[in-house]
Amino acid sequence: MSVVDIDSVSKSYDGEMALDRVSLQVEQTERVVILGPSGCGKTTILRLIAGFIAPDAGSICIAGELVSRDGRILKPPEERDLGMVFQDLALWPHLSVAGNLEFGLKAKGMARRQRKDAIDEMLKLVGMQALAHRRPSELSGGQQQRVALARALVLQPKLLLMDEPLSSLDLDLNLRLRKEILRLHEQLGFSMIHVTHDRDEALELATRMVTMNAGHIEDEKAAR
């Protein structure tokens, strides 16, 4: 069973077609990278999967369950078991690093002891344990990226959505974080859809590459 199954999905904004009958499946532990220029519809696919917007036509299934269809959201984002790293990271500025991770665990009703263990474990995994009580504004760009990753993964989602999270980093940090993402993927075994316009980044991260242009999938192939 596919983790995500997008079937003939179309989406337009104010009459402008953003996606035109796009279909895409993502399998267990697969790393799909969507590559394409700005405005080609990459982020729209992620927002449709997350459930922030509904497709005008077509359907989306997550783990075999129908979650959106023909203009309707059938399952809200918080019930889709997803993690997401936003382009601007969207770290909550009023919460500490640990607080950012704890928010979702608390919402899921996890007990305090278990929450602490899960946060410690995840922060250890991304090498941020020592900075658990810092606010996001007190962290460097790379540290913020790690917190965003940790927050997305702490709930052990079956699918991780990454919306150009590395685009604003310098090349050196970008390269290091690519390695970090691959290491986490190997350790935790999640499926992933990563959106980027950087071909090198796509080649390094993908097990499968999807090239998009003007709302269409132009090419789809396994990465080398």
């Binding site: 997401m84 500025p93 009023h94 928010f103 899921k108």
Partner: protein, 531 residues
């Protein structure tokens, strides 16, 4: 050089207009027979009456603040973040009481519930006696001021909601519903705005004198006004004003320490287009009914009462014959005041935004301090400074009213201008500078046109606040130059209910009609241009 020189001139102007009256009042309060004496303050501390006033003032302000924030914030969220039908219209309706002189709402409730009120024939004497007892006292004052200041937390909540990056809430949407997001993310993020609104409501309630005066509830501003206007006891009036100034100063210092950097410049989020609305779903109708009932009860009903009470051409003919000149004066002073406030506020906002002089924070704090001071305190300060034979060309003419507007309300136009200027890239002015344009030319041809919507908003706010001003004008207006709010206030003593209601309706039209025109004409031009 031109820039620095002009901004220094603006700072000096603000010192004379805003700072010196307060300093002069404080000095005068400690000078007894040309010698320094703190005896008036010692008397202040030991007087039981002063402590009663303090209790009344703080009880009134605290209750109004608690109520407005407790209901204004949820209302702001419902109107600013959900898919409630007609939410813009509702927001506009709820704002109306803030735009008109506060006592008008009190008059309206008195006309409805008072002994000779509209409901008297229906509900009988026992009901109106109880209602009158409640209205004329603390509960009535709280209810009326709640209606007037509810828009402050509501609007600030709506404004601060627009500054939240939608991704911060979307990140939360992946793990919890809207209830959890509002509690854990949205409300903590807009907390500075909520605290700011609480402080503003507290200070404005503390300084409000026309409503407690009408509803006969003794508070510091009423005492100050009565001591000055009825007994002409300047020292007693000042003594009643100083505690208000002290509380204002303490609260503003707290704001400067805890909130200033968080509320200073508000930027709409860059991803505002992706902002998510809370879908009310099956509860949409229930929310609509609830908000509609609140709007009718708090705003529409008082306005309808005034219309009913003033029904008939005769009331309006008499109103215009007795107060037509005051209406014209009000309009003229408000237009002049708004225009000068926009000019002064623009350059003060520019100074604060660009930090062009080292005193920028002092200037900003000064304007905010004087705005937060009760009108009666500012009025007494103006009298203390300008009532001399050498400055009679100001004090003895309507100029003193305009000076009062500038002293009190520059903070509003300055903040609006600074917020708008913050949205304009500095490179706009720099590009003009590279082209060889001098500072005045850059201001006139580049910066001001780019900030025109902010300037229009500043002018509108300046007009509204100048027109509705009662506290300052009441104390400083020269003989024969009373404005409409002052005229209504004085006619309340002996005018008929019908006449007062008609004057209130005229006052509301004088406020809302020009404001509506100022905003509608450019909007219509834009829509025609699009066609």
């Amino acid at each position: 050089m031109a820039k620095r020189g002009f901004l220094v001139f603006i700072v000096l102007l603000l010192l004379v207009i805003a700072a010196m009256p307060v300093v002069s009042m404080l000095l005068e309060s400690v000078m007894v027979n040309a010698r320094l004496s703190f005896a008036p303050y010692a008397g202040l501390m030991t007087s039981a009456h002063q402590w009663t006033l303090m209790g009344h003032s703080t009880a009134l302000s605290s209750l109004v603040t608690l109520l407005t924030v407790a209901l204004g914030v949820p209302l702001g969220i419902v109107l600013g973040k959900t898919d409630l039908p007609l939410r813009r219209l509702f927001a506009a309706v709820f704002v109306i009481p803030l735009l008109i002189p506060p006592y008008i709402i009190a008059i309206s409730w008195s006309d409805l519930l008072g002994r000779e009120g509209l409901v008297a024939p229906v509900f009988g004497t026992a009901f109106t006696e109880s209602a009158t007892h409640l209205l004329f006292g603390l509960p009535g004052c709280v209810a009326v001021l709640f209606t007037i200041f509810l828009p402050i937390p509501m609007l600030l909540t709506m404004i601060f909601l627009r500054t939240i990056d939608p991704h911060l809430e979307e990140a939360g949407r992946l793990v919890t519903g809207w209830r959890g997001i509002l509690k854990g993310i949205t409300l903590p993020l807009i907390l500075p705005g909520i605290l700011l609104s609480a402080m503003l409501v507290f200070l404005l309630s503390l300084g409000e004198f026309s409503v407690p005066n009408f509803l006969r509830y003794d508070v510091f501003p009423v005492e100050s006004f009565v001591q000055f206007s009825a007994f002409y006891d300047f020292r007693a009036a000042t003594a009643a004003a100083v505690p208000l100034a002290a509380i204002t100063l303490i609260l503003l210092l707290a704001e400067a320490v805890f909130l200033r950097d968080k509320t200073y410049e508000l930027h709409p989020s860059a991803d505002a287009g992706q902002r998510r609305e809370i879908e009310l779903g099956t509860r949409r109708r229930a929310w609509f009914v609830l908000v509609a009932v609140a709007a009718v009860a708090l705003v529409v009903l008082p306005l309808v009462v005034l219309l009913v009470q003033s029904a008939g051409l005769h009331a309006y003919t008499e109103a215009l014959s007795r107060a037509g000149a005051s209406l014209m004066r009000s309009l003229i002073y408000a237009v002049i005041g708004a225009t000068l406030l926009t000019f002064l506020g623009f350059f003060t906002g520019y100074l604060v935004h660009t930090k062009a002089l080292r005193v920028w924070r002092t200037v900003d704090s000064l304007t905010i301090f004087v705005f937060a001071l009760p009108s009666t305190v500012v009025g007494i300060g103006l009298i203390s400074l300008w009532n001399t034979p050498w400055t009679n060309f100001i004090y003895g003419t309507p100029l003193i009213i305009i000076v009062g507007y500038l002293a009190k309300y520059t903070a509003l136009t300055s903040r609006i201008s600074a917020a708008r200027l913050a949205q304009i890239s500095p490179s706009m002015e720099e590009a003009a500078q590279v082209c060889g344009a001098g500072w005045f030319r850059r201001m006139a041809r580049i910066v001001a046109p780019l900030a025109r919507r902010g300037l229009l908003a500043a002018w509108t706010v300046g007009y509204i606040f100048s027109l509705r001003d009662t506290g300052i004008t009441m104390l400083v207006y020269p003989a024969g130059h009373e404005t409409l709010p002052v005229r209504i206030f004085t006619l309340m003593a002996n005018g008929s209910q019908q006449l007062i209601a008609a004057l209130c309706v005229i006052m509301i039209i004088a406020t809302l009609l020009p404001v509506g025109l100022v905003w509608m004409v450019p909007a219509m031009r834009r829509s025609q241009a699009i066609k």
